[in-house]
């Protein structure tokens, strides 16, 4: 068998052996601390562990090394993870003169470059060992990475190695020494958030970003605007946000910058979307000229240059906010009825001998040009590919959503693809249990290696029609974690596990970890998403 597959199986077997020795039961109340398995989510590429337990100093110090080790982002990330791993009282409760096995976390980062972009090196290695161990003279923990963002991924994994011992009241790393080498399978591991169907306060978006970082998701696809509301400030066209639901349910330009910066510190890109020409009814609240007519209010008026001036203005304002190389231009569900029935648009079509389908293509391509001119790569929903693939700009990344089997067609034509097959990865579909989410596979039906490389990754979509601040986090989690592992972990390791035992127990553990970190992840085993627990019980079995 190919050597890679053997390596995958070996590492999967190692983990299975470790996990299998303690088949899934709720971590028993009176199990001794040494009997506790350690769970990591998502599964790293290669893991080896031992059987020693190491204590971790509550005053754990950061030992930064390498050109990037001393960066502010690493220091801040370390502080954040310190706060997640240790209780607020841990420092005060630390006995004087106490000795711990792990007192320092060395973080070696080879590059100081803090540019965050698609495909940035997120690989890392972790070694946690005891003094006198095979590979180390000094006991401690080391994270090594090429970039700051690899180090941040490593910090997340390290934080999951740390568990609290309720008998000794120490934080420990069990089953040491640990040797972990890890990198993601896909560079694009996204979550879509919809702030148009319901406004989400900035602080809530930040909580979502935090939760993404816990499972190593790295692209926040911000579907800012849609039919129902236009919440974002656009300085070039300041009436646009009159389409917000209310005068409080808005984001200023600075708020958007704030969100982008907050995400960047966690190694998360923000991909903004301006969905055109459909899904844009709210634009006309500020500029009614954008509607074909007052009683036929979408799609955007294709016949008017003003429409494209506004799009251009929006894009230039956004270029200053969103540095991510990909920009989403939507293009889905375009109902062109109003173009046909509105006289001046009908006339415009006739003059150019265009059908509404031609006009749709024209609109999308013209918008793409505007984005490309601003040095963006356009992402479009799959209808654009399905309707006029021969004319679609070759730079286009096609975003699948309608169903399975689309990315194979997309990559066969040489386009890059993002998978969001709604049958498994639409989080607003509450009747998709986590096992189905876990089964989504971006490379399904694609066997050619070169074509596989065109699949950038995938994205779970939290459409907002029936989710708001009160329940968005428990609708996203824990199911998004299933996709997060599918996108990060090695395929062989994923398929080598048993879904109903190994994966389930690990997902239970991760869900409880999310709750412990203040993220309202829902019970795992309910069939319908975000439902309450049906009865009293442990987090680990519900």
């Amino acid at each position: 068998m190919p050597p890679n597959l053997r390596a995958y199986l070996l590492s999967a077997l190692l983990l299975l052996a470790a996990a299998g020795a303690r088949r899934h039961a709720s971590p028993a109340a009176n199990a001794s601390s040494a009997g506790e398995p350690v769970y990591l989510w998502p599964l790293p590429k290669s893991v080896s562990s031992g059987s020693r337990t190491l204590t971790v100093d509550p005053d754990l110090a950061l030992d930064p090394q390498g050109p990037g080790g001393r960066s502010l982002a690493v220091a801040e990330a370390f502080q954040r993870y310190r706060g997640l791993v240790f209780a607020p009282w841990a420092h005060a409760a630390r006995p004087r003169g106490a000795r711990y096995d792990v007192t320092r976390l060395t973080v070696v980062v080879n590059s100081a470059n803090d540019t965050l972009a698609l495909g940035v090196d997120e690989s890392y290695a972790i070694y946690v060992g005891a003094a006198g161990g095979v590979n180390s003279i000094v006991g401690g923990a080391i994270i090594e990475a090429n970039t700051i963002y690899g180090a941040i991924r490593g910090l997340e994994t390290f934080s999951q190695l740390c568990v609290f011992n309720y008998d000794t009241k120490n934080v420990e790393v069990r089953n040491a020494p640990w040797h972990i080498q890890d990198e993601p399978r896909f560079a694009f591991r996204g979550l879509l958030l919809d702030t148009s169907r319901h406004y989400l306060p900035v602080d809530v978006i930040k909580q979502v970003i935090d939760s993404m970082s816990f499972s190593k998701l790295n692209v926040l696809h911000w579907h800012i605007i849609d039919e129902q509301s236009f919440p974002l400030e656009v300085p070039t066209y300041p009436n646009l946000w009159k389409g917000s639901y209310s005068k409080w349910e808005r984001y200023t330009v600075e708020d958007a910058h704030d969100i982008v910066n907050y995400a960047k510190k966690r190694g998360i890109n923000v991909m903004a979307e301006i969905d055109v020409p459909g899904h844009a009814e709210s634009w006309g609240n500020g500029y009614p000229k954008l509607w074909p007519s007052p009683n036929c209010t979408e799609p955007l008026d294709v016949s008017s240059n003003f429409t494209f001036e506004v799009i251009s203005g929006i894009l230039s304002d956004m270029r200053k906010i969103f540095p991510f190389g990909l920009f989403h231009l939507g293009g889905d569900e375009v109902y062109t009825g109003c173009w046909n029935t509105t006289p001046h648009v009908r006339q415009w079509l006739n003059e150019r001998n265009m059908t509404t389908k031609d006009a749709y293509k024209y609109f999308v391509l013209r918008a793409q040009e505007l984005a490309i001119k601003l040095n963006w790569t356009p992402v479009n929903w799959e209808e654009t590919f399905n309707s006029f693939k021969e004319n679609l700009n070759p730079l286009t990344v096609v975003h699948n959503w309608l169903g399975p089997g689309v990315c194979p067609k997309v990559v066969a034509k040489g386009f890059r693809c993002i998978m969001s097959n709604q049958g498994v990865w639409y989080l607003d579909h509450l009747d998709v249990p986590w096992e189905d989410v876990y089964s989504g596979e971006p490379l399904d039906g694609i066997s050619d290696r070169d074509q596989q490389k065109l699949v950038l990754g995938g994205e779970v979509c939290m459409w907002g029609e029936t989710a708001d601040t009160s329940d968005v986090l428990q609708t996203i989690w824990p199911r998004a974690a299933a996709a997060a592992e599918r996108l990060w972990s090695q395929l062989g390791a994923i398929t080598a596990q048993d879904v109903e035992t190994t994966v389930l127990s690990r997902l239970h553990y991760f869900r409880c970890l999310l709750n412990h970190r203040g993220i309202a992840a829902a019970p795992v085993t309910n069939y319908y998403a975000r439902r309450p627990p049906i009865s009293p019980g442990s987090c680990f079995v519900q």
Partner: protein, 468 residues
């Protein structure tokens, strides 16, 4: 934390669309008058304590002020330019007593004035205790909004003159960490939200049939009854929660429900069960049972400094006492029936709690069954229905109202209007008796909620009750 605030604000936004008068405060202060002018909050607004007798050594006030500032600037980048006039530069807080230990009945009254004249322009808070000042800061924070034009925090409808005091000293919320374990962070989020609506007692129903999550150093096997090894609270976690709450003016009332609702105790100490096959109530015939209760209350007394402890006493199904031979025998020897034994259990537990310095709260069944035998200082916690409080106060006992038809949050079909309209003093006309009603409590029982949905089950309905 921010989740509940957003729900509260959503509530207020709706209110402001309807209210012609622009008073978007919750709960509504006792007396409010305001004007029509707009003020701006200075970007680095400061706090002063000129005229205070209180020294803030524990930083209760400074921390609360910083939290308020962080909260009003939470969701938008405030980068406008301070205008040349109408800028509120400072909040001066005058606290008249040095008291900094939170206690039952602490004076929470305050005056808050926001003038439109003065140079420098500053708001003035006056309170008897720092805990009144904390409430004033909550109200002040609710007057502040982000202005999308000026990119500053604005304060509308000034000048404001607000006088406020709570109608009841006990304004509680029950959380249940036995049916589902609630991580410490989640509990803290609930406490934050309580402070926003001026609720001031967190009734922590820690233990019940299903699980025993808290560490009891005197009897360390008790928390073997937790759901799992990690669904536990150490003593340090409990102290952390109590301190977190105190800094926000929230008392923590611990409950150790006996003799029913205690099946989980036997996981660590099976002799507490009447028998292996009949596991509750706690075995009344053994001294060991009361030694354990004593150990629990002794450990509690080091952490839970609220003057009350809740001893439960509800829904006691005594059949295991009559069907278990050694208990049957004990009852016969002591010439007791099960009602006597229930009564004696409760009274004996009360005495233990009193010996540790506590005043007692018990659920109403104790009063309904043997009210005349209860320690006279017992506060009776009504939950069964709405006709109980009048009887309790007529008998001279203090009362907490939680009638389940209106104030049980786990009843998902109980509307916010019902929460709002529920009146603790209903049916009580005598003023002396009215004073015996120390307040009320909404109850978030945990059978069917957990960390994933507790906040949205509590809010906004609990705020409706808080508005009372």
């Amino acid at each position: 934390m921010a989740l509940a605030l957003r729900l509260l604000l959503a509530f207020l936004v709706i209110g402001s669309c309807i209210a012609a008068d622009n008073i978007d405060l919750w709960p509504m202060p006792q007396s409010v008058s305001h004007g029509t002018q707009k003020l701006y909050i200075k970007k680095d607004i400061t706090m002063s304590m000129v005229g205070s007798t209180y020294s803030d050594e524990k930083s209760i006030l400074k921390d609360a002020f910083q939290r308020m500032v962080d909260l009003i600037t939470l969701n938008h980048v405030v980068d406008g330019i301070n205008p040349s006039s109408s800028v509120l530069t400072c909040v001066n807080i005058v606290v008249h007593t040095p008291e900094d230990e939170l206690s039952f009945g602490a004076d929470e009254s305050y005056n808050l004035t926001v003038p439109t004249t003065g140079d420098p322009l500053y708001a003035q808070i006056e309170a008897q205790t720092v805990f009144g000042a904390l409430q004033a800061l909550q109200t002040f924070g609710q007057l502040c909004y982000f202005d999308f034009t000026s990119r500053l925090i604005e304060l509308n409808s000034a000048p404001w003159i607000i006088t406020d005091r709570p109608r009841f000293p006990y304004r509680g919320l029950l959380i249940d960490t036995a049916r589902h374990y609630l991580p410490v962070k989640i509990i803290k989020g609930v406490i934050d939200a309580m402070a926003y609506s001026k609720l001031n007692v967190l009734h922590w129903h820690i233990v019940d049939e299903q699980s025993f999550p808290i560490e009891i150093p005197s009897y360390p096997k008790l928390w073997n009854g937790s759901y799992s090894y990690s669904e536990r609270y150490t003593m340090s976690d409990a102290i952390d929660i109590v301190r977190y709450a105190e800094k926000r003016g929230v008392n923590v009332l611990a409950e150790i429900d006996v003799p029913g609702h205690a099946r989980s105790w036997g996981v660590g100490y099976s002799s507490l069960w009447p028998s292996e096959s009949c596991r509750e109530p706690l075995d009344v015939s053994k001294n060991f049972t009361f030694e354990v209760i004593d150990g629990i209350l002794s450990d509690f007394s080091k952490i839970f400094k609220f003057k009350f402890v809740h001893l439960g006493g509800d829904e006691v199904n005594t059949s295991c006492w009559t069907t278990t031979p050694h208990i049957e025998g004990w009852l016969k020897n002591n010439h007791m029936n099960v009602s006597d034994a229930y009564r004696d259990f409760v009274l004996r537990s009360q005495k233990i709690a009193i010996s540790h310095g506590y005043d007692i709260i018990n659920w109403e069944e104790t009063f309904n069954s043997f009210g005349d035998k209860l320690d006279p200082k017992t506060v009776v916690h009504n939950w069964l229905g709405e006709d109980v409080a009048p009887k309790v106060v007529a008998a001279g006992h203090r009362c907490i109202v939680s009638n389940q038809d209106k104030w049980y949050l786990d009843h998902l079909d109980a509307s916010w209007e019902g929460f709002y309209m529920n009146e603790p003093l209903k049916g009580i006309n005598d003023t002396k008796q009215q004073q015996l009603v120390i307040g009320g409590e909404v109850c978030m029982w945990g059978e069917e909620i957990d960390a994933s949905d507790i906040q949205q089950t509590i809010w906004p309905r609990a705020a409706a009750a808080a508005g009372n």
